[in-house]
Every structure is written in C-alpha cells, then in structure tokens.
C-alpha cells in the first residue's frame, strides 16, 4: 500500500479505512484495463468488473450505485489533472489552458478510454450528463474565471459575452482533438489560437 492510500479523497472528505481506497483504485483500474482492451462499455457488467478486480460484486455496490456512477469515476481518473495557471496575464492563462487541452487531445489519440469510450458515452444521456457535470463543467468554470479576470484588468473588451468567448477559445482545439483525428496539433497551437483571437481577423490597417 502506497502512502497515497492514506491521503484524503480529492473532494476533501475521508471515506472508510485506507484499505478501502486501494480497493476502489483496483476496481477503477480493472475497468480501465477492460476498456483499453477494447471491451465496449455496453458489455461491461458489474460481474465482469468484479472478476477482473478480484473483488465481490457487493464490494462494488457498496461504493457505486451502479455501472454509470462507476464509469464516471473511471472517466475522471483517466482525465489529466487541471493545469496550474501562471496568473501573469489573461493571455498566458489562456495559453496554458489551451495547451492542457491540446495535450489531452494528443493523449486521446492513443488512449481507448479517452477516445472510444468518450464516443460511446455520448450515446448514453445519463452518463454523458454525469461526465459533463464532473469533468467538462469544472474546466469551463476555470476558463470563465480567466476571462472574467481579463475583463476586470482590461485585457479583454468589456462588451463580449464570456460564455460565448469561452467556446470561441476552446472551440478550435476541441474541433482538432475530438472531430478531426488526423488534424495537426502543433506545439504552438495554443499560442497561435490565443494570439489570433486577441488580435482579431481584420487587417491591421483595415
């Protein structure tokens, strides 16, 4: 058992004995392995997951209400952590956020979980909604906070809709990572997107 087992959970609460954390991780890693091996989400039963993780079904049901709740935890565990923002300017923070998204996209090209399972999940409205609330929404909030600070410190025009602007900022990187698996994700993509958006598309003397 590693020292991490005795640390509190990410949400700040401590649940059960340390041993329980190790079991939880074994179950989540068991599901990850099955998914990476190409087992479709729809074919993953609690029974199969229990067998893979070497635990009883009751052990799983004590922690998760069912497959969907477990899958959301698996997806969350597969996602890279949110980046640390430098806080030096809105421009720099946006570049760091987009760079994290670009790296997430690169990882998604080689990870069955981040690619196929992501796509399968969209067919299940409940699962997608849970994923949205636990993974996508916190990321969106991070972006909105950066834009809000930019508007307050004068880096950003005061008349733009921050929600729309957030979609404008992340849109091109998401299009390239999620919709066009063969699209170029060059090292300087984040910087180029942010600087193009800041400058605008009109000719300088236009």
């Amino acid at each position: 058992m590693s020292p991490a087992d005795t640390e509190p959970r990410q949400d700040g609460t401590a649940r059960g004995r340390p041993r329980s954390e190790a079991v939880e991780r074994a179950i989540i890693e068991g599901v990850m392995k099955l998914l990476e091996d190409g087992v479709p989400l729809a074919e993953l039963s609690i029974e199969r997951i229990a067998r893979t993780a070497g635990v009883g079904k009751a052990t799983i049901y004590r922690r998760w209400s069912g497959k969907e709740e477990l899958f959301v935890d698996v997806m969350r565990a597969a996602e890279p952590p949110d980046p640390q923002l430098p806080g030096t300017s809105m421009r720099d923070d946006l570049v760091v956020l987009l760079e994290a998204l670009r790296r997430r996209g690169l990882a998604g090209r080689t990870s069955a979980i981040l690619h196929n399972v992501h796509a399968q999940m969209k067919s299940s409205p409940n699962l997608w909604a849970a994923y949205h609330d636990t993974v996508i929404l916190p990321r969106r909030r991070l972006g909105l906070d950066v834009l809000r600070r930019g508007r307050e410190n004068g880096e950003l025009r005061a008349d733009v809709d921050l929600e729309l602007l957030n979609d404008i900022v992340v849109g091109p990187v998401l299009v390239r990572t999620l919709m066009r698996p063969d699209a170029d994700l060059p090292d300087d993509l984040a910087e180029r997107v942010v600087d193009t958006l800041l400058q605008g598309l009109r000719p300088v003397n236009g």
Copy 2:
C-alpha cells in the same frame, strides 16, 4: 414516383434506370426509420434492412459493398444541403455558413440519426473516415474558399493560417452543437461569433 426520381444523381452521373433510384431511396429511408426508432448501428444487419425496405438482400449488395458504405449514404442523406453563399463579403458568407451549422445543430437535437448515430459512428474508424471524407471535408473546403477570398480582397489579415482560422470560426458553434447538448443556440449566434472574431478580443483603445 416523383419527378425527382428521373433527375441525375447529386454527383452528376446518372446510374441505372429511374426505378433504381426509387429503390435506393426506399432502402436509405428504411435504414433511417430503423435508426430513428433507436436501433443501434451495430444491430442493423443487411437482412433486417432488406426486410424493412421490402427488397431482397441482393438488391442491397448490388448498390453497396456492405453496411458501412450504405451507412455513409444514409448519413449523407440525413444531412441538410450546403447553404447558398451570398458572395457579398467574407463576413456575410461566414455568417451564412455558421448559420447553416447552427441549424444543423438544432436539427441534431431532435434527430436520432444526427445525434446518436453520429456518436456511434465515431467508434468505427472506417465509417468515421468515410463520413469525414464525404460530409465534413466538403464543408471545410467551402469555409476555406470563403476565407481565401477574404484574404484576397483584403477583408482578412494576410498572415493567418487559413486551416487554423477555419477551425476558429466553426469551433464555437460545433462545441455548442456537438459537445454541449444543453448549450444556447440563439438566432444571432453566427453573427456574434463572426463579428467577435473580426474585431478581436482586445479593448478598442487597448
């Protein structure tokens, strides 16, 4: 049989007798009905499709090499046609292109084919590649042509990467339509995106 049956195919070639077009459409509409009824793509056999369309399996195999080729034609038939561009300015053409994408997104919220099947397709690399080549790529080319004309007539800065700019333009609308099923798609979304991009994000006196 409607007069449209005797018209040449969209790709400009005429194939078979008019009757053959009607059969083709009956098969495609049969698949659409099954998909709209919620039958998963993976469960659609040529046999079931033939039964639904009231034709023999051989009739289907004479027209398509298999399920995947047929599905791509079904997806293409489900997609709205590309919009007519006004050609008055790059700005106006971009607004019309984005407005078509917004409407496609609204349609996708009530169409099982444009939503669920789209998601299922992404799990099949071959199918996704074929869909990409026949539906997404021509749309991208249309957008790139508009941007190229804008660069030539001075509406657009000369130093931007058109491929990247295309993703910047369509990104926010695709994020709202494909990734956030509950996101707002207001009537003026296309105009707001294009005008925000043209103007840039910096304060006017910044």
